[in-house]
Symmetry: C2
Amino acid sequence: MSRHRISEDREKQSVEISDEDNDGSLPQSYVVMRFDKNIPDATLEWIVDKIHTLRTNGGGELLVLKQPYKESEGVVLHISASTIKFLEAAEEMEIMKCDKNGVRREFTVSSLEDFLPDGMHVDDFLTTAEKQKIIKHELENIRALPVEGCIPGYPQYTLYEGQSILHVCLVEHLIKAIYPLHDVESLKKLGKRWYATLFDPQPLEEIRLYFGEAIALYFAFLGFYTAALVFPTFLGFLQLFVSHETVPFFCVFNVVWVTVLLELWRRRSNELAFQWGTIGMTSLDEPRGNFHGRMGKDAVTGRIQPQYPRWKTTAKLYFVSIPIVIACMLFASVFMLALFWVEDYMKDLGTPLAEQLMNLPSIIYSILVFIINVKYKTLATYLTNWENHRTASQFDRHRVIKLIMFEFVNTFMSLFYIAFVKQDLEILKTQLATMLIVQQAINNIQEVLIPLFIKKYTQRTQQNISVSKEVEDKCENINSREILKHIPEIRSDDTRIAEAEKEDLMDVYEETYDDYLEMYIQFGYVVLFSSVYPLAAFWAVVNNFVEIRSDAFKLCKFNRRPFSKKVKDIGAWQKAFEVVGGLSILTNCGLMFISFHQRKDAYFFDQLQWLVMFVALEHCLLGIRYLLHIAIQDKPEWVRVALAKKYHASKQALKNEQLLKNRGILARKFKTVSSRPFKS
Amino acid sequence: MSRHRISEDREKQSVEISDEDNDGSLPQSYVVMRFDKNIPDATLEWIVDKIHTLRTNGGGELLVLKQPYKESEGVVLHISASTIKFLEAAEEMEIMKCDKNGVRREFTVSSLEDFLPDGMHVDDFLTTAEKQKIIKHELENIRALPVEGCIPGYPQYTLYEGQSILHVCLVEHLIKAIYPLHDVESLKKLGKRWYATLFDPQPLEEIRLYFGEAIALYFAFLGFYTAALVFPTFLGFLQLFVSHETVPFFCVFNVVWVTVLLELWRRRSNELAFQWGTIGMTSLDEPRGNFHGRMGKDAVTGRIQPQYPRWKTTAKLYFVSIPIVIACMLFASVFMLALFWVEDYMKDLGTPLAEQLMNLPSIIYSILVFIINVKYKTLATYLTNWENHRTASQFDRHRVIKLIMFEFVNTFMSLFYIAFVKQDLEILKTQLATMLIVQQAINNIQEVLIPLFIKKYTQRTQQNISVSKEVEDKCENINSREILKHIPEIRSDDTRIAEAEKEDLMDVYEETYDDYLEMYIQFGYVVLFSSVYPLAAFWAVVNNFVEIRSDAFKLCKFNRRPFSKKVKDIGAWQKAFEVVGGLSILTNCGLMFISFHQRKDAYFFDQLQWLVMFVALEHCLLGIRYLLHIAIQDKPEWVRVALAKKYHASKQALKNEQLLKNRGILARKFKTVSSRPFKS
């Protein structure tokens, strides 16, 4: 029944679309979708149908173009949408735009006039990033109807009502790739103002517009943190010229600096989130694509959306995920301790063979850690997905927490062992210097130079391929698959085909996780152990200065354009940085104690008294941290006022909406002892 | 000019009011205001005029009745308001009411029909507590006009534009007393369900309706805390039958219990705040009466209100108040140490004279502490007032923080000294037992039995007075002051005159501060030192069981009715209790260390190792506390959903308000490549 109606719709659409095709004005393509080469025609037809059809039938209401079919690539579709669809979806997704008065507020279709600058065409109103995000959102919200029990052509891939079809197709590799196209012009402009400058501040607003909030916030944080590092760098140099008695001062400074840095960042982050309109995001917002559950009426918005009881997620988290994560962490710790034990054992052995094999455990360990890390990442993603969090930010947060906890053990446990069990501060210092200078330099080279090299190399081979391709193409155009006839085809000389092919070969920029992790580990080195190696901050500044530019370069040049992603803060990272900040009190006091302990000349007191003193100092620092946390407000005053104003305005609007009767009725109804004339 | 117009208004009002007076239906009186006996007529006329007149002229728009004049009492006015005024103000103050569907939402005049239950008269719609709160709010918001440079008759009391006149009159004692009248019927009903029962839960909703949110929340917290005390009480008894090795267990339990208790209370408190509609209160709400500043347009609501730059408040707080408070705390600590030193010195002296005077320092100390406490309270109130916080809750919070900090030093410092400097756990135990058993019993007796006795006594003497008064009255009615002729007079046989006279003699219930403080000190004893004296919890339960009933009895029987006060949480107390919870980790671990230290048989390790172990345990507990804090959510799920729903609804309403053009216009305006039919 409903399938029949859908086909009708489709036919009608295709007819009119080809009408427009005659004018030569095919819609711009925003997102490219490449299918598995062996996908059955029926499946393909069904998916395209779904993308096309009305939302009430579980469809995406989007426009589809096809590239000329090539055997080597499979079916490649370009997705777009009508102007009205874009505007409608922009309203639904609560996209913030500046209106003519310069006030940033949620866009509504009905007030388009207030938003659209004079002389701007309505098609240019939304940025390409916004349009791509909208298309992705719509694609993700293509959901299975109750009658659709499985994917046509694949009876083994069962569907349940409300499941996101795109997600299934991606997981089952029916769709091989889906990515938004770069906007070459804007990208060039952006690059010039970003990685090509030396000391200019980063163009955050442009980054946000092009890459979305998540990436812009990462760069904002990186910049903020690097600027803050200037203080400890300065002190680190100063300390070179001063006697050793500055250690306690450095320890206190470190703690205050970390706390103030993180509190101020929270303020800054809230400010940005307010400007970007993401500050009000909650766990009750739009569900993410992979969120599954029975379709039902949402308790908050009343929309029909998948519903999944929250207690189930919580139960899964507490009774399965957390125990597994803790077990993994314990395993990693034991593993590391075993390594140290083997190393010590071999050192004690002292035979020539043992000395030659001295580095073998470390090497084996490094390789194993690498493998375990990859496996663990898969496990963490699987678990978090299985917990079924409602929003993308919740999902990210829980996944990142799992990853950080494990990564923390892997990275810092050995340093803790060296510092507090072996108590060998010289080795610790060497380790820190190695990590901060050599490791970071290698990382930067890996990230930029190697891809640059690969790119150069592949371009040359690609030219060869493209020559052979042309030959192929001619043959292929003949035995082109006779499907999707109703979909308008892009001419084979259209530039966007070349563009899509080029970007298809690029690396995928998965997420900001790896970039944050790099920064996090560096932050840990600087903050946890810098009282031993005061130049740590300097090397961190040097690295970050390069890092900002190399990350930016990498993003603009080597990666497929990522879909823009909304975030209101740096998520789990804020807490993770704060925990390291808290731990820094312990480690700094501990290192101080050990260094005093080792200097025999410092024995004014006995050991017990020293320890009591350090514990007392530590508690004072914890207290100071708490006070700073209370004293520095989360949001700048102007943001608080602006939020309160908005809140007040909407409350007022709600009241007005309820206003059905006017005051006059009241006045007539109830006599009063006062004769005061009414103000109406 | 404007004075002229006001007099006109007044005359008109008085004429019509006397019209109604002819029907014998004077409005009910809600709030009583007693003036200084020597107040000049002009001042009195001016104040009454202000209470009467329109808000645009800085008035209160309230109704005023006068009691027959008595020389002994001075002028006594009864304040009321018209039905419409009450309803209007209820909307302005955003009072929450249940509508007919049982949904609690902000009342609006226009939707009165939706709120008013069938058959209820509109005059009964608001509770007396609400009406009294409204009158107080309106009285406090009577503000000086620019032309009014001083209080008429008192050229020395200058006014500036926007100053709260009621506040000045109270501070300068022109108004001697202002209090709402009790509602004898409701009070009886409430008492029966409250202090007269043994095991029934407290009737929180009724308490809130009668006494307001602040007092209801105090009793809610007291009940919650007492119920939670059952666990440590049980364990305390259990410990009596078990060997000493349970101390570490008890220490861990204590920390977890405190943390969970406070986190769960925060949830419960948010739940109540949501039900009572106070959860959305912010520092940008209605300013409190004493808040002064230039009149200006409010940045949030756009209403004309006093404006005072926030940075000035912050600067005053950080650069004046906090240093003063810290100085006071240091002074108190030094003072206490001096006492201990003198005591020790006298003990060492060992002469008979010294032994006889042994208790003298303690007695002198107690007296001095009492005096200093009173002085400090005045100082703290003065400073907080001078800081000029905008809302009543901010003012309370900052005042309470100042008081708690000082009180903490006074109460617990000596115990810390005994525990950690003297390390005399026996004396500590005795002290705790004394405080928890004797001190609390004395407190309860003071609070209830003494007032009961006084009441009995005064009632007898009052009868004598009233006889002599009747004689007086006859004389007085003749030489009654010839003022306020236009104000309707209550007949001298009206019961409310007797009621007002009775309540005028009652104690004033100033605020919840003293009650919270009592609970806080008890909480400190139980949580900080209970590992030494495990029965502490039991005595706390016994005391609180009596305390709930005695506090309730006191409130209902001996005190003037307090004005109802809105709060969204227990304010500074939450943080104060949390800080004690955090400190409890330190003290419990410290006590454990000392007790192990003193038992010579427990030396498996050397002292240093023991200390390291205890520090490690302490850090683990701090970690557990942090995790519990993160794991337990601030608000129950249903409150989160309900808030999100409300937020969404008001956002939607704001959008709809902006809806001026409809979608059809758009569709005609912009051509589209899609032929999808519009859903309108």
